[in-house]
C-alpha cells in the first residue's frame, strides 16, 4: 500500500466520507485556513479540514471537505495563487461528479496585498488587483502602483 493510500485510510478515520459536497485536495501545507477565507465558505457549511497530511506527491498537504455545497472551477481558481496544485472534486451520493484543477487566472482581484507602502490600495478603499506576469515562479504586478512582486513578497489579505 502506498503512502498516499495510507494517508487516505488514516484520513477516513479522521474525517467521515462525504455524501454531497466538495473536496479541495492538494492544498499546500498550512494554507487550508486561508483557502477557506479566500473561497468565502464561512457561511455555515460544515467543513472538515486536514492539515499537514502525508502526501506522496507533495510531501505534506492540506485538504478541505465542504458538506452540501459544490464549488465551480472559477471559484477554485481563486485559490491558485495560494496553492497552484489544488484540485477540486464535487461529490454527489458519494460519487465524484466533477473533477478539476485550479488554474491561475490572468488577473487576481482583492485577495493579495500590495507590498508597496506608497500604493493607493494601502491608503484608500481601493480593492487590489494584480496581473499575473509569470506563472512559475509566480510574479504579479499591481494594477495600481505597477510594482511587481514574487515569492515571499506575495501576501494574501
Amino acid at each position: 500500500m502506498t503512502d498516499e493510500k495510507n494517508s487516505s485510510v488514516s484520513m477516513e478515520m479522521r474525517i467521515s466520507k462525504l455524501r454531497n459536497g466538495a473536496v479541495i485536495d492538494h492544498l499546500r501545507p498550512g494554507t487550508a485556513m486561508k483557502a477557506i477565507q479566500v473561497l468565502g465558505v464561512t457561511d455555515g457549511s460544515t467543513l472538515s479540514i486536514g492539515m499537514f497530511l502525508d502526501s506522496k506527491k507533495m510531501g505534506r498537504k492540506d485538504l478541505i471537505k465542504i458538506e452540501n455545497r459544490t464549488l465551480t472551477a472559477k471559484e477554485i481558481n481563486k485559490i491558485a495563487v495560494l496553492s497552484p496544485e489544488a484540485t477540486l472534486c464535487n461529490i454527489r451520493d458519494y460519487k465524484v461528479v466533477q473533477k478539476t484543477k485550479a488554474h491561475l487566472p490572468r488577473e487576481i482581484p482583492v485577495i493579495v496585498r500590495c507590498n508597496n507602502p506608497k500604493c493607493i490600495t494601502n491608503h484608500e478603499k481601493v480593492g487590489t488587483l494584480f496581473v499575473v506576469v509569470e506563472d512559475n515562479p509566480l510574479k504579479l504586478r499591481c494594477r495600481y502602483c505597477e510594482r511587481a512582486m514574487s515569492g515571499d513578497e506575495i501576501e494574501l489579505i
Binding site: N116, V126, R147
Partner: protein, 313 residues
C-alpha cells in the same frame, strides 16, 4: 494611413493616459507623429472644453505646460495646486474627487504622491484622466515628450545608443523612458553611483525584452558611444538619510569639458529642474536640448488633450 489614423482616433477618444505601459509601440508612434502637427499649426479646437488640474503635489513644468496646451487650443483650465486646500484635507478619496470633477470638466490631469492614484481616479470618473505623476511610479506625458524630443532630433527611435545619468534608482522618468525605449531596440548605458543604480526589476524587464545594456559609474567610459544622454537630478527629497544625499549630490556635474568626449551630434536631455548637474555654460551649445525638450511638453500635451477629447487638428 487615413484608415489607421481613424482607428487610433477612435481608440484614444475618451481614453485615459495613466501609464506608458498601456501603449503599444504603434500607439506611441502614432501619438508622436500626431504631435508634430501641433508644432507650427494651432487652432482653437478645444474651445468650450474645460481641463481640471488636480495637483496634490507641487509642480511647475507639468502643470503650466498642461495649462499652456489647453489655453493654446482655446480651452479653459480650473483646478487646485495644493492638497491642503482641496477636499483631500477633509479625507475625500481620490476616486470620489475624480467622480465629482467629472461634473465640472471635460478632462482632468492629476498629480498625487500615492502610486496608483491616477488609475484609481480614472476608475472613478467617466471623463478622460491624464496622469501628471503618481509618486515614484509613472509620468506618461513626460515619457511621451522625452520620446518626441529624441525622435525629433534623431528622426528615429530605433537602434540608438542612449545613456541615462544620475539618479537611476528613484527617478521615475528614467524608468518609464527605458521601458518605452525597449520597444525600439536601443542600446542603453546606465551611469550612476552604486547607491543610485537602476533597480533590478527594471533591468529584469529589459532582459525580458532582449535589450543590451551596461552599467558604469564613469561617464567618460561610455560618453563617445552616446547619441542621447538623459541626465536626471539627484532628488534630495527621495533620500531617507540626508547623509547619503550629501555623498552623491555632486557626483556628476556636466560642463564644457564633456563636449571633448562626445559625438558632435549628441543631444543632452533633462526632465528639469536641474540643480547643479549641468553647468549653465553648456546651455549655449547645440548639444543642450533640455529647454527645447521642456517646450516640446506643450506640443505633446496639446496632442494628447486633442486625442482624448476626440477633437482633432
Amino acid at each position: 494611413m487615413a484608415a489607421n489614423q481613424d482607428k487610433y482616433f477612435r481608440k484614444f477618444q475618451g481614453a485615459d493616459v495613466i501609464s506608458i505601459r498601456d501603449f503599444s509601440e504603434q500607439e506611441i508612434l502614432f501619438v508622436l507623429d500626431y504631435a508634430s502637427r501641433f508644432e507650427a499649426a494651432s487652432a482653437p479646437v478645444l474651445q468650450g472644453k474645460i481641463l481640471a488640474t488636480l495637483f496634490y503635489e507641487p509642480s511647475t513644468r507639468t502643470r503650466l505646460s498642461f495649462e499652456s496646451a489647453m489655453i493654446g487650443l482655446g480651452g479653459s483650465v480650473m483646478g487646485f495646486t495644493d492638497a491642503a486646500v482641496s477636499s483631500a484635507a477633509k479625507g475625500e478619496s481620490v476616486r470620489d474627487t475624480a467622480k465629482m470633477i467629472e461634473g465640472y470638466a471635460d478632462v482632468m490631469v492629476i498629480r498625487h504622491p500615492l502610486e496608483g492614484s491616477a488609475r484609481a481616479a480614472a476608475e472613478g470618473a467617466e471623463i478622460p484622466v491624464i496622469n501628471g505623476g503618481d509618486g515614484a511610479n509613472q509620468h506618461p506625458t513626460q515619457t511621451f515628450l522625452d520620446l518626441y524630443t529624441i525622435l525629433k532630433n534623431k528622426q528615429t527611435l530605433r537602434g540608438l545608443n542612449v545613456g541615462f545619468l544620475g539618479d537611476l534608482k528613484y527617478g521615475r522618468t528614467v524608468h518609464s523612458l527605458a521601458e518605452a525605449l525597449s520597444h525600439f531596440d536601443c542600446r542603453m548605458y546606465f551611469i550612476a553611483p552604486e547607491m543610485l543604480r537602476m533597480p533590478a526589476h527594471i533591468l529584469s524587464e529589459l532582459d525580458q525584452h532582449g535589450i543590451t545594456y551596461s552599467e558604469t559609474e564613469n561617464l567618460y567610459e561610455v560618453s563617445r558611444e552616446l547619441d542621447i544622454l538623459y541626465v536626471t537630478r539627484i532628488q534630495k527629497e527621495r533620500f531617507p538619510d540626508p547623509l547619503d544625499y550629501e555623498k552623491v549630490k555632486n557626483v556628476y556635474i556636466l560642463n564644457e569639458k564633456l563636449l571633448e568626449h562626445v559625438k558632435s551630434d549628441l543631444k543632452i536631455l533633462h526632465p528639469l529642474p536641474r540643480v547643479n548637474e549641468i553647468d549653465p555654460a553648456l546651455d549655449a551649445y547645440p548639444q543642450a536640448e533640455y529647454f527645447q525638450q521642456s517646450k516640446n511638453g506643450v506640443t505633446v500635451r496639446k496632442a494628447l488633450l486633442s486625442l482624448v477629447l476626440g477633437v482633432h487638428l
